[in-house]
């Protein structure tokens, strides 16, 4: 329905080429009314209004971080005795676990700062996904499917809710990886292109240099640019009118409008210099080994604060097959304080109540060793966590077996995880559909159960 009315609008304004007559406020107001990014009613009251997804690409080890397995320490060196490689030797976590907060959540010494936020965290120990391969698992985490190109979680969210600030993109992804599906992970597939994530920077490049480039015209005034853009859009509408149906041109038209509006506000939002030294320090901006992710976290807060619906930020390098002790320490350190800073900051600004923060990678790692100091991929059981908007804090939900190899209790498949996230946002995953190729598509396909036990 939505795309139909939008199409009608985009075409009718074009007829007669009265762009001058329509130019200015009338056009823009009319356009806003049919703007696909306008806020939309939820299916039921929402517990969270926005999402920050802290994506840990590579698959962080759950048994060394958030899934405490005392038996693993006891059975160090013994064969695991099940799974694909039953003779593989269990490897005790080299890190100590302690209980934290009044909830007493077990968290390892790798996350000393996040541990202080234990009472905000809802640890999901029963996660599992279909395949232990990066590209498939990463895409499944982001789109629900690893076989077909499907809209990403952020795109579905934006499609379902619209955004609160039409001067900014509704879905921003910071430093996403080029691999493991690349743009598919923030793509819109068959949803209108406007729901795609806007990328800032890319993985492996320092965020200090990355920004959305070309945010300012070196010559024209805003008014002159608007006049030029009106001409350009009139040409685009003429092309659309000729084609009758052309989602690509619709995407181009909308993308220009958003781009034009972004020039006003985005440079301001992305400018971290606006933050006080105390805040920057809270996140670890400028600190060795964590500056990059600290900037991402701070930028994420500024973006959601400004009304962006879905922000994904990404830290790669969690694929610790070797040198676990050294590299996992480094990875954890790179995100620990920034994440803790983000949670603290959101809370102090009163944003945590309706901002859903989700943390995790595409899968976990095996409790048994790869080489002597490393762990392999494990899709059968791992931990993701949530905090804020509508989830119970200080909760440890579900569990894996004694060694952390597979989920045995409170199992949550990626589809369930998706369903739960949408639920928290006030969306029924079975009702959030888009008609394409003759059928209604959902993020959760024909699966997914909301994990009600974790709802606050």
């Amino acid at each position: 329905m939505l795309s139909f009315s939008r199409r009608m609008f985009l075409q009718t304004t074009a007829s007669g080429f009265g762009y001058l007559a329509f130019a200015g406020l009338a056009t823009q107001a009319a356009e806003r009314a049919t703007n696909p990014l306008s806020p939309k009613p939820t299916h039921f009251p929402a517990r969270a209004k926005r999402v920050i997804f802290l994506c840990m690409e590579g698959g962080p080890s759950h048994v060394d971080t958030f899934d405490y397995k005392p038996r693993l320490a006891k059975d160090d060196g013994r064969p695991i005795g099940k799974g694909r490689v039953p003779f593989a030797k269990l490897l005790a976590s080299p890190w100590k676990f302690k209980q934290h907060g009044s909830s007493g959540l077990w968290i390892s010494e790798l996350f000393p700062e996040v541990a202080k936020q234990a009472d905000q965290l809802c640890l999901l120990h029963g996660m599992h996904t279909d395949l232990p391969n990066h590209p498939q698992a990463f895409q499944q985490m982001h789109t629900g499917s690893f076989q077909f190109r499907r809209p990403s979680l952020g795109a579905w969210t934006l499609y379902g809710l619209g955004t609160e600030n039409d001067q900014l993109p509704g879905f921003v992804t910071i430093s996403p990886p080029n691999q493991n599906g690349g743009p598919v992970n923030y793509g819109s597939a068959f949803l209108p292109a406007i729901y795609q994530g806007t990328r800032i920077g890319s993985i492996g490049r320092s965020l200090r240099e990355a920004s959305v480039s070309n945010l300012k015209n070196p010559r024209s005034s805003t008014k002159a640019q608007r006049a030029q853009l009106d001409l350009l859009q009139a040409m685009n509408r003429a092309a659309l009118e000729r084609d009758r149906v052309n989602p690509a041109i619709e995407g181009v038209i909308e993308s220009y409008e958003l781009a034009f509006r972004m020039q006003g506000e985005l440079p301001e939002v992305l400018n971290l210099d606006k933050e006080s030294a105390t805040t920057r320090k809270l996140y670890g901006v400028g600190e060795d080994g964590m500056d990059n992710f600290a900037r991402q976290c701070l930028m994420a807060r500024r973006l959601v604060e400004a009304g962006v619906r879905f922000v994904e930020i990404c830290q790669g390098g969690w694929d610790h097959h070797r040198n676990l002790q050294e590299t996992l320490t480094r990875s954890a350190r790179s995100v620990d304080r920034p994440i803790a800073g983000l949670l603290t900051d959101l809370k102090s600004r009163g944003l945590l109540d309706d901002t859903l923060v989700i943390w995790g990678g595409e899968f976990g790692r095996t409790p048994y060793a790869q080489l002597s100091d490393g762990r392999d991929h494990n899709n059968k059981g791992y931990t993701l966590w949530m905090a804020g908007g509508g989830v119970k804090g200080g909760l440890s939900y579900g569990k894996t077996d004694d060694h952390g190899y597979e989920a045995v209790d409170g199992k949550i498949h990626i589809h369930d995880w998706h369903a739960t996230i949408l639920h928290l946002l006030g969306l029924d995953h079975e009702k959030l559909t888009f008609r394409h190729a003759g059928r209604d598509f959902r993020l959760t396909d024909v699966k997914g159960h909301v994990v009600r036990e974790i709802l606050a």
Binding site: L20, G83, F87, P169, P183, A193, L231, V252, A259, Q263
Partner: protein, 914 residues
């Protein structure tokens, strides 16, 4: 970790001393290797892993090197390798005996000469005697299958009782929850024997019946023999891949010569391609849309074949050419153009993950990579037969060459194998080697076969019938190959390699200026100064570890590298990236779970079994020549299919197989399997000519279809996989930049020689980053812009340039505001629009004609009356806005035209080819 280590060692030493002190009798004088074995066997699995052995020996004085008494890990590794006569990566008691028989800490370690018989070493894989194996097969295996597998086999995939699997050798020796099932040579210590004797009620197995006494005796004897077991440890706990069954997958079937389908609308098809397409459409009750008009078609075919817009003259000539051959004439002209190779070459460079830096952890320059780029472009221009194209990239160095020039080209072609991403700071040489080999296997098999063979590095392929053995069979070929990628020995780069020197009469361009005597002198002086400073630091004791020391070293090595790249007269050396033969003496082993310290069985070099009917034998050299032959053999079911699908996808926007780099079982099935085979057959019959294939495809009626909408068809097939119309496509990043340059009259069509990265020379790629936005400064075609991994230029990255870290058969097409921002605000776009406006204004004639020309140049058509009116209105109204902004009246006309031209460059119609 360290503390843990020393405690453990202490324990071992204490145990050992108590053992020597506490023993009485004649045994006292001799070591008991079995006892020692059990002590070292930390996990009691009845065999010593390399790790266990090294833990022990790292304290044993006899394996400490002589000299200064320093530890010699290499020697330890060597000792393990020599003891491990069956190469299973573990020491059995028998293998350990020659070592353990020595009194710890005393005497020189002697190897059993018989055990290291070179013949046996070479073939290895002889874990037990033939009699032993025969005994196992006759007496043991049948009992295991009949009596035990029900609960102790992993094949069923359900729950394994007691954690014990008996269907593999590994499982037997490892045992289950209660410990090792079998201790070779020691029936009394073997739990399996205890269990079948039914002496312990809790352990009695099989639980409901005691086995016949004869059988129990057989088992005891078998354990006494050392429990010979020919089953391969690497294939543990997993159903063996059934190769024959695997062949049933459509893509592994021989390419057929399908019958032409019958169609109802016999008037429509022009070529066989059209009949296949129409037959499928008709089966769905659909019919194709109308044909495209001539202007749309010539713009389409020119972009598709050259990556450039047609000139106004070319369009008008075609529109007015009423001869029957008009279409063919255009296609033949385009195929003859040198820009065809630039366009199709770039497609191949996507597949070949072409880049000029290493990417990964330390991004180092590959200053000679551009020769491969130019070779690819030339190959497409020459219409080098595709089978030859592949052969040269895999084994060009081994192919006969008629001239020095051809020889050099063949060498450069092998750059395909050398330009991949590499982690140059990987310290372990074997790990680095295996990672390079892995990248080569990955790219080769994906690019040419559409198979992800490298998924079988750590285990059998999870989805395709590719056992891990096949991976290592191929790995053996690349391990006997030296990869020449250059680089200089600076910090973080552990393994620089030589490059391939090209002969002086190869006719290859240098790509760099001569180094003048003055420049040389300046570099030498600079080097002297730096070395002096280095010497000072050394004296201060600050050379190592200090930032300054590190920085000095980088400067010195970079300058040295620069000097080394010229000969004594200052002429640039002619060098190329590529590969050559290398003698590989080690055994070609499978690395269990991909781990380099877990060598497993030895495998002969070879190819992917599921694609191989006849067993191959590689007797001489690395086997790359055989690999090249095998890849391009007429009966290889994939090579031709994969390439015709790529070409199809490059022309139509998506492949007949939607996953062009994956024809395996997780890939997509072809929408038109028979058409795919028809094209593959035709391709091979026509001598693997890419140009003939392209010509055939673009002259089809299917390619000529309009890109218009049809409600009926859209309802059924919105993605247009059935080809009821031509899919509109956004231009690729390069085509956008080239088209902007072309229509503004700025495009430099003469290819530049060499590359910006080539001129920077060896060193860290950050030097490249400092060059700034080159893409905005130079005016040559985008295919010649430098490509640095992870440092893709904005203008390209924004429009979905292929990630050069991986094989990219089809690029993504995103539509995001950052692209709009680029087109609205980027200085390059504005400057191009300005140039275009200036040129238009300099022409005689009125604005009406100028607007007409603008449309013709940019969209290959004339504006409609409404569009004329729209532009004219803009020309009248925009100066009023400028007036308010204070733009001087004299400049208003130029600025207005610039804005108009820029709007054109940003319009959807300009950015798409219909």
């Amino acid at each position: 970790m360290l503390r843990f280590f020393s405690v453990f060692l202490l324990a071992v030493l204490l145990l050992m001393s108590s053992y020597s002190a506490g023993q009485d009798g004649p045994k006292d004088k001799k070591a008991d290797p079995e006892r020692l074995f059990r002590l070292i066997d930390r996990d009691n699995d009845g065999k010593l892993s390399r790790e266990e052995f090294e833990r022990f020996t790292s304290s044993a004085p006899l394996l400490k090197g002589k000299g200064k008494g320093k530890e010699n890990p290499k020697l330890r590794g060597l000792a393990f390798d020599r003891l491990d006569t069956d190469r299973d990566g573990f020491l059995s008691v028998e293998e350990f005996k020659p070592f353990g028989a020595q009194r710890p800490g005393m005497g020189k370690f002697k190897f059993n000469k018989e055990k290291t018989d070179p013949k046996q070493e070479a073939t290895a894989e002889q874990p037990a005697t033939a009699e032993g194996i025969a005994f196992f097969e006759k007496k043991i295996r049948p009992v295991l299958i009949a009596e035990c597998f029900h609960c102790h086999s992993s094949e069923k995939g359900n729950k394994i009782r007691g954690g014990l699997t008996l269907d593999t050798r590994e499982g037997l020796r490892k045992g289950g929850d209660s410990g090792p099932a079998v201790v070779p040579g020691r029936p009394d210590r073997s739990l399996l024997i205890k269990a079948i004797r039914h002496v312990d009620e809790k352990l009695a197995m099989p639980p409901k019946k005691k086995l016949d006494d004869n059988i129990v005796r057989d088992f005891e004897q078998w354990v006494r023999m050392g429990a010979p077991d020919p089953r391969d440890g690497a294939k543990i706990a997993r159903a063996e891949i059934d190769i024959e069954k695997g062949r049933e997958h459509w893509a592994f079937q021989p390419v057929g010569k399908p019958k032409m389908p019958t169609v109802k609308n016999t008037d429509w098809p022009r070529t066989e391609v059209d009949r296949f397409i129409l037959a499928t459409l008709e089966a769905k009750g659909l019919s194709p849309v109308e044909d495209a008009d001539r202007r749309t078609w010539i713009r389409r075919v020119t972009f598709d074949l050259l990556g450039l817009p047609p000139s106004v003259q070319e369009v008008e000539a075609f529109v007015n050419d009423r001869s029957e051959k008009a279409y063919e004439r255009v296609v033949d002209r385009l195929l003859e153009s040198p820009h065809f190779g630039e366009r199709f070459g770039r497609h191949w460079l996507d597949v070949a993950r072409y880049a000029e830096t290493s990417g990964k952890t330390v991004n180092l320059n590959y200053p000679h990579a551009w020769r491969y780029r130019d070779w690819v472009i030339a190959a497409f221009n020459k219409d080098k037969p595709y089978d030859q194209f592949v052969r040269e990239q895999i084994a060009g160095d081994l192919l006969p060459a008629a001239s020095a020039q051809q020889r050099a080209e063949n060498q450069i072609a092998t750059g395909f194998l050398a330009i991949g991403p590499k982690a140059h700071n990987e310290r372990n040489r074997l790990q680095f080697e295996m990672d390079v080999v892995d990248e080569q296997i990955d790219t080769t098999t994906q690019a040419i076969l559409g198979l992800t063979v490298s998924c079988a590095r750590c285990h059998d392929h999870k989805f395709d019938p590719i056992p891990q053995r096949d991976y290592y069979a191929m790995a053996g070929i690349f391990r006997a190959t030296q990869t020449c990628y250059g680089t200089i020995p600076i910090i973080q780069n552990v393994h620089p390699s030589p490059l391939l020197p090209l002969s002086e009469d190869s006719g290859q361009p240098a790509g760099r200026e001569k180094l003048s005597a003055r420049e040389r002198e300046s570099i030498v002086n600079q080097l002297d100064r730096l070395k002096q400073r280095q010497e000072e630091l050394r004296k201060e004791g600050n050379l190592f570890g200090s930032n300054q020391g590190v920085f000095l070293n980088i400067q010195i090595q970079t300058l040295r590298g620069r000097l080394d790249s010229y000969d004594a007269d200052g002429n640039p050396k002619l060098l190329a990236m590529g590969v050559r033969e290398k003698s590989f003496r080690g055994a070609n082993v499978v690395f269990q779970r991909g781990e380099i310290d877990k060598p497993g069985e030895v495998v002969p070099r070879g190819f992917v079994q599921v694609l191989t009917r006849e067993p191959v034998s590689i007797t001489r050299g690395s086997g790359r020549l055989e690999l090249a032959d095998w890849l391009t053999a007429p009966d290889n079911p994939l090579t031709a299919r994969v390439m015709v699908n790529r070409v199809w996808s490059w022309l139509f926007g998506h492949g007949l197989v939607g996953s062009p780099d994956n024809f395996g079982t997780t890939g997509q099935t072809p929408t038109h399997p028979e058409l795919l085979d028809h094209l593959a057959t035709t391709f091979v019959e026509q001598g693997w000519s890419v140009k003939k294939l392209v010509r055939y495809l673009v002259l089809s009626r299917t390619y000529q279809l309009a890109s218009t909408h049809s409600d009926t068809c859209y309802e059924v097939d919105p993605e247009n996989t059935l080809l009821w119309r031509m899919s509109k496509r956004r231009l690729e990043a390069e085509a956008i930049r080239d088209a902007i340059l072309a229509v503004s009259g700025e495009l430099e069509l003469t290819p530049p020689v060499g590359s910006e990265i080539g001129r920077l020379g060896e060193g860290f790629s950050n030097a490249f980053g400092r060059l700034g936005p080159i893409e905005n400064r130079v005016r040559y075609r985008s295919v010649y812009l430098p490509v640095a991994r992870d440092l893709t230029m904005d203008a390209l990255a924004l429009f979905d340039f292929a990630d050069p870290n991986v094989v990219v058969g089809e690029r993504a097409t995103t539509s995001v505001p950052s692209q709009s921002l680029y087109l609205l605000n980027n200085p390059f776009v504005i400057r191009s629009a300005e140039t275009m406006a200036r040129r238009l204004l300099a022409r005689p004639g009125d604005d009406h004609e100028r607007i007409e020309l603008l449309y013709q140049r940019c969209l290959s058509r004339k504006p409609t009356e409404k569009e004329q009116q729209l532009a004219n209105e803009f020309l009248r109204s925009y100066p009023k806005v400028l007036e308010q902004d204070g733009v001087p009246r004299l400049r208003q006309r130029q600025v207005t035209w610039t804005a108009l031209c820029q709007a054109m460059l940003g319009s959807a119609e300009f950015l798409y080819r219909n």
